[in-house]
């Protein structure tokens, strides 16, 4: 049987999702017989290849390079997985959106927040032009599965990969699929059930 052609892509994100991917540890090595990583920031491949089976896309779409990349990825890939909160929601990468557009963001970063004030860099071949809005992957191309989390946990990634390698739908009962922090799993019964904590500052002054 042919090995599964797996890729990972890094768009506008912090690479934390890739770190979490590496957190699957020996699982990655064990998969070498059934899957091959054909493109990734972690391997030496310059061009995104044709005929990819599964891609994990980390990060939001923020600039023209991401836009071209995600479209190429979609064309050449069977299953596109939005990998982590930036790819799924925009997350931290999209925090700039309330500023209104690319120019106000550059002005904020290079003129107002810079001391002494600098200059907005000229558009060049090396720095891709920013899009006016940062958007999640599914706002540009159809996405087949979503793995939210900032980052998704190693075990969740592993479970998802196992499903994909086995050719099953990425449906993960028993895994906490949620937005937000890895280190802060929500309590099973919601905030209502959290134990009362002594907050001296917040205690009422008698009622």
């Amino acid at each position: 049987m042919d090995r599964l052609r797996l890729a990972t892509v890094w768009l506008g994100g912090c690479s934390g999702c890739h770190m979490s991917f590496l957190d699957t540890d020996e699982f990655l090595l064990e998969q070498a017989d059934v899957a091959e990583v054909v493109y990734s920031p972690l391997v030496d491949a310059k061009e995104y290849p044709e005929g990819v089976d599964v891609v994990l896309v980390e990060g939001a779409v923020c600039n023209v390079e991401h836009l071209a990349m995600i479209q190429r990825v979609r064309e050449r890939t069977r299953l596109v997985v939005a990998f982590g909160d930036c790819a799924v929601t925009g997350n931290v990468t999209a925090l700039r959106n309330p500023l209104g557009g690319a120019l106000p963001v550059l002005e904020r970063a290079y003129l107002r927040a810079s001391d002494p004030p600098g200059a907005i860099p000229e558009a060049s071949d090396t720095v891709p032009e920013l899009l006016d809005r940062v958007v999640p992957v599914h706002a540009i191309v159809p996405v087949d599965a979503f793995l939210p989390g900032c980052p998704p946990s190693g075990p969740t990634i592993r479970a998802a990969l196992e499903r994909m390698i086995a050719g099953e739908p990425v449906d993960l009962p028993g895994h906490r699929i949620h937005f937000g922090g890895y280190g802060q799993p929500p309590s099973p019964d919601g905030a209502e059930a959290m134990p009362s904590r002594a907050f001296r500052g917040g205690r009422p002054r008698g009622d």
Partner: protein, 236 residues
Amino acid sequence: MAVTTLRLNGAMISAREGQTILEAAREAGTRIPTLCHLDGVSPVGACRLCLVEVNGRLMPSCVTKAAEEMDVRTDTEQLREYRKMIVELLFAERNHVCSVCVADGHCELQNLAEELGVDHIRFDYLAPECGVDLSHDRYGQDDNRCILCTRCVRVCDEVEGAHTWDVAGRGARSRVITDLDRPWGESSTCTSCGKCVMACPTGALFHRGASVAENVHDRAMLRFLITAREEKRWTV
């Protein structure tokens, strides 16, 4: 006391007179998702998550009294889809960035998304520009995280009796304000009791200077206060 019997997801259950469908369902061990609802303050039926199907019609279970002959369904495919959409609309409406939110890990919106299987948002993120009010020395208010459930408004009015909070503006431009839109720290009515922070389901109201792990909305304390008041435990 008069008791009514009704059908809940096919099973017969009983409800005391005056009980809402939500209360009766809870006693019967059936969970109905809620967000604007807060035990001890008046219900408003605003978030629409607790909608249930009553004899074929959708009704908010938090304000609908249980009645004889009701055939209530709490978990139809239509309701599940509507609830998902409502949670997605809330995520799209303001800037809910769980990963950097003070309520990450103890947020009812975040939990509901997980419970309802919301793994992405199908609507446009509106990314409005929202303010953060840090004028109060103990608490902060972040409109980016507000879902306009008005729990703070009700708990402040009905439990603390201060009515510091209210809603200004309309539609998507609505926001909760203190006094007549003065900074919270300059409010002359706020007693700094913190009940609004205890009641807030998200990271919109929070303790200043506390870590994310510490920023728990202390619902148990709130429940204790409300129960004590209702039962007049402190009356001499």
